[in-house]
């Protein structure tokens, strides 16, 4: 390991330039023997300090035992000279302990780095020294009567699986009997509260515990089947449905629970609460809220488990889209579907809702009118659906505008024209939109040039604009001007087909769309 060449190098480093080859050949094995001896002592120190990592002060104390005044850093320095791949050398020593980046070591490494050309990344990793927190002692139950409780202090999943395996093996009990008594009580209480006193603080606390407790995994199958059963039974009981949804949500949010195998049972129940025809019996029941809540639950679930279940998202969207496109379904169902898709993300809206928006609005608008729809509740529902659609479309627009500002010009012009005629019949608009479609490509090409024109014309038209606004628009114009060659192209390539559906939005919803345009874009309209 220690060659006579390295002895020569060391000799030179301490100023002995004329070392006869015999001497270095004789010294080399002895140096190695001594180093090994010291390291053995150091390892003893390490063992007695109940460590599995060798630290520099272990070597220090080992040297101290032998009454040597050498400090470990100089010894480590020697290692470095001997072998630039210092770690390798140390690993080849008996017992091969890991060497910890202690302070002494650090110093040596910095010192030697100039000699051995240590990589900078390794240096940096050594430099990140531990933060000094004060020591503390706390206690917890590692086991109670030989069973390891599932508390955050114990190592979580392995323990549970170990325990379960051993128990299955030992007595082969049915699944239900594996549940410990406290878990059974927990389940009974939570289900009872969910059905009887869902508004109480007690239930709220139970939900909080469901969300964070690590030991609930054994209960998951029972909870899923409970939710599925009770939803079927209580379709007309709004409070219970809401409580069940909250239960499901808490369970789905628990990071310690492996709910994936039960998702296929749980998801239909949740989707039911989203797009069922009737949720709750009385008109006072705010089933719209329930749908909103469920929609967000569905979305978060898809987000969390989408990568595990590849067909989860497609299946959910398919059922939502199916509901949305079926004109025979009731308005609340449509509402749920729309909300679900909105929660799943704007891309869903862009690809699934917007293309169908025109035809759908044709269906919806009559329901909203006072003359066509006499029933107050239904009209209210229709307006809610309209609002949901509008928000969805508006958010799409907002995102789109934010990403590609230059695309604004053509639609604004069309809006400009049609602004005042929101309530007018739709036929002409359909035509206008198709007009738009056909004219799009050339419009885009001239977009950059047009913008300057636009802004100037706007300023002319709105003579009353104040000075700061003016400067703002100027800045905008300049901003658009400078990257003129690249920006339009890329954005045009990115979403031509989507944009096709974006432009008619102003026709469908009119001025209310303006709320969704980014603020500085609004300056065009002011």
């Amino acid at each position: 390991m220690v060659t006579k060449e390295s002895i020569e190098v060391i000799a030179q480093s301490i100023g002995l330039s004329t070392l006869s080859p015999d001497v270095s050949a004789a010294l080399a094995p002895d140096v190695e023997y001594r180093v090994r001896e010291v390291m053995q002592e150091a390892i003893k120190c390490m063992r007695h300090a109940r460590r599995t990592t060798l630290m520099a002060h272990d070597v220090d104390s080992a040297l101290h035992f032998r009454n040597l005044e050498v400090s470990s850093s100089s010894l480590l320095l020697l290692f470095h000279t001997v072998d630039p791949d210092f770690d390798f050398f140390l690993y080849s020593l008996p017992l091969a302990p890991k060497v910890c980046g202690s302070r002494e070591l650090l110093r040596t490494e910095i010192y030697t780095s100039s000699m051995t050309k240590m990589s900078s990344s390794r240096m940096l990793s050594k430099l990140l020294y531990q933060m000094h927190l004060l020591m503390h002692l706390f206690s917890h139950w590692l086991a109670i009567d030989g069973i390891q409780p599932s508390i955050p202090q114990n190592s979580p999943l392995q323990a549970i699986s170990d325990l379960k395996r051993s128990e299955y093996k030992d007595d082969g009990l049915a699944a239900r009997q594996v549940l410990s008594k406290d878990l059974q009580i927990y389940f009974d209480k939570v289900t009872e509260w969910a059905l009887t006193q869902s508004g109480s603080t007690l239930f709220r606390q139970a939900l909080a515990s469901l969300e964070i407790d690590p030991g609930l995994h054994p209960l998951v199958p029972f909870f899923t089947s409970f939710i599925a059963e009770e939803i079927v039974k209580n379709m007309d009981n709004y409070p219970i449905l809401l409580a069940l949804m909250r239960l499901a949500r808490s369970l789905l949010h628990n990071p310690h629970v492996h709910i994936e195998p039960y998702l296929h049972q749980l998801m239909p129940s949740i989707i039911t609460c989203l797009i069922a025809k009737r949720l709750g019996r009385r008109s006072s029941d705010n089933h719209w809220d329930l749908r909103n809540f469920t929609a967000s639950t569905v979305a978060s679930t898809c987000k969390r488990f989408g990568h595990v279940y590849h067909n989860l998202l497609p299946r959910v969207t398919r059922s939502l889209l199916h509901t949305f496109l079926d004109p025979t379904k009731a308005l609340p169902q449509h509402y749920g579907a729309i909300q679900g898709m909105v929660a799943l993300g704007l891309n869903m809206v862009r690809f699934l809702v917007l293309p169908n928006l025109g035809p759908y609005l044709l269906l919806l608008l009559p329901e909203m009118g006072l003359e066509k729809q006499k029933e107050e509740a239904k009209r209210h529902g229709a307006w809610l659906v309209y609002g949901a659609l509008m928000v969805a479309a508006g958010r799409c627009l907002y995102e789109r505008l934010k990403t590609s500002e230059t695309l604004l010009s053509p639609p604004t012009s069309s809006v400009w024209k049609t602004n005042g005629k929101l309530t007018s019949p739709r036929q002409s608009k359909r035509k206008a939109s198709s007009d738009n479609l056909t004219h799009q490509p050339p419009l885009k090409k001239i977009a950059v040039g047009g913008i300057i024109q636009m802004s100037s014309t706007q300023m002319q038209m709105r003579g009353t604009t104040t000075v700061p606004q003016q400067s703002h628009t100027d800045a905008d114009a300049r901003h658009h001007n400078s990257p003129s060659t690249i920006a339009p192209k890329t954005s045009a390539a990115a979403g031509t087909d989507v944009d096709n559906y974006l432009f008619p939005l102003f026709e469908y919803f009119g001025e209310s769309m303006l709320m969704f345009t980014p603020t500085h874009e609004l300056s065009f309209f002011l």
């Binding site: 109940r50 206690s139 392995q158």
Partner: protein, 665 residues
Amino acid sequence: MDPEQINEFVVGYLKKKGFSSAAKDLESYHHQNNNGSSFTSVDYHNDPELTKLIRSFSQQEDDPTRYREGYSKLRSWAYNSLDLYKHELLRVMYPVFIHCYMDLVGKGHTQEARAFFNSFRKDHEMVHLRDLQKLEGVLSPSHLEEMEFARSLRKSKVNIKFCQYSYELLLQYLHSTVSTLMLGIINEHINFQVYSGQPTSSSDDIEAVTIVGSFQDTANHINQKEIQWGLLEDSLEDRLEKTGGLLSDSEKGQGESKDGDADDSKKRSTEIGKQGSSLKKLKKDKAGNATAKVARLETITVSPAPRVKPELALPVMSTDVEQSILEDLRNRVQLSSVAMPSVSFYTFVNTHNGLNCSSISHDGSLVAGGFSDSSIKVWDMAKIGQAGSGALQAENDSSDQSIGPNGRRSYTLLLGHSGPVYSATFSPPGDFVLSSSADTTIRLWSTKLNANLVCYKGHNYPVWDAQFSPFGHYFASCSHDRTARIWSMDRIQPLRIMAGHLSDVDCVQWHPNCNYIATGSSDKTVRLWDVQTGECVRIFIGHRSMVLSLAMSPDGRYMASGDEDGTIMMWDLSTARCITPLMGHNSCVWSLSYSGEGSLLASGSADCTVKLWDVTSSTKLTKAEEKNGNSNRLRSLRTFPTKSTPVHALRVSYAFFTRINSTIL
């Protein structure tokens, strides 16, 4: 043998040794006296082995390749031998290997020695890794002289049990191949114990594993000595059994207050503190449940341990303490595979690798930690329990927790040592702390006064471990200077020095009856010493690496020892035999503890687990299975993994005690 031949040998030998002129003289002298042969025939004429040996002397000996050739031939022969005899023949390989290596080193062929060593070390790494690592560094003849391990190997002979046929096979091979070198090594360093009959099964060659040589004989000799492993007569347990655990016993105990020979090592807690913490209350609840009755019945069925008289003058116990012990004994529950214990786990956070050792007082209320910055810190868990019930929720602001509610530190800081503290243990009543350190001293601290009382100097090297006797007052220490010492609290000089280990003494443990101490050492043996005479009365051979922890069963019959590799061995003290090795841990076993009745053994390890072993069932089973000639392993009952926390110290039915690396939180 021809005189001419002898002349030839002698001349050859002289030449080889460099006495060329002497050789010439001798030659010419022989030429002169060619006719008159003055040599008388000696009896070695008809000893072919000797002839070969003599011939080997005259041969060109300094040819290092011969070792390699000889060894590799022998190796391939042994590996290709009949399966039935193979494992016996393979046993020869290791001693031959290391002696070949040392011969080469001794003759100064460093390079060849290293090459030889590296090419064949794989064969032996499985079993002899540590020895090989030690020997690897030996590179010059002076190292051989200097290194104790190598010296003892050179001096002693290895005992190998061989069946008749294997022995004949080996001899036949050595003769037929005329490999005098191998023959020489085998003759010189191996002592064959030939027995007639079939070769033994390969499993029970524990003795073949360790090379101790003549040491084995002394060990066998020492192990013949008689030991009194029984419990002390008239102990508190004794009295409790007699009275059947009646409540009236407490009055009785009061009457006999002058009697101090209480055996309190068996009980789980020495003292039920007046300031009962939540922790202790839980314990008591558990202790009070119905299994107690079952326990009593079972203990009666087991043959009671014999009673012995104490050889030391033991301290007198106060009535109060005795009372509480009796109370606790009555409440004790039999732990078994059915009635599993609860484990409370104390975790140190943010120690920055500074925590060297830790221990828990017998009643579980105090926790002491010894640190590499030479400080000792003592925590009162009762106070922490009150103040820090919410401590677990807020792990982040640990800085707040370490300062107590009154703005004080939550621990007592004991400063005095000038080197890393390697052990800190409580006296049985919990009023003293004993600490040992790398500064070669042992210090006694009072937990009441929070001050250092005595500094015991005597060891010349770091003191690895110090343990109070089960009754307090006396304590034992062990050190890097290869001795263990017995001390009493009121004297600053040691009472006894136990010398005999061949390497560091790493751990020490008292026998429940106080008449013996056990020491575990880096020489891979455990020894039992008589406290009164200071003699070694038992040597336990079988571990393959340094012994790190020891525990004595409460009835004094068995001992468990844990080593660096994670093996735990159960020993029968009277026969000095290993009952069974407990395999399961894969890193250092740092602590071992028996349950109050000796039915369970708990082990804590660096692999971040606590394991419980059912000791009773296995010992019974072994007895049954001994007839079948099977060796079986103790059943591992439960494994409790921790959150990447190495387990430092443990006390059964109390806390398993740990350190957590600061990086985790």
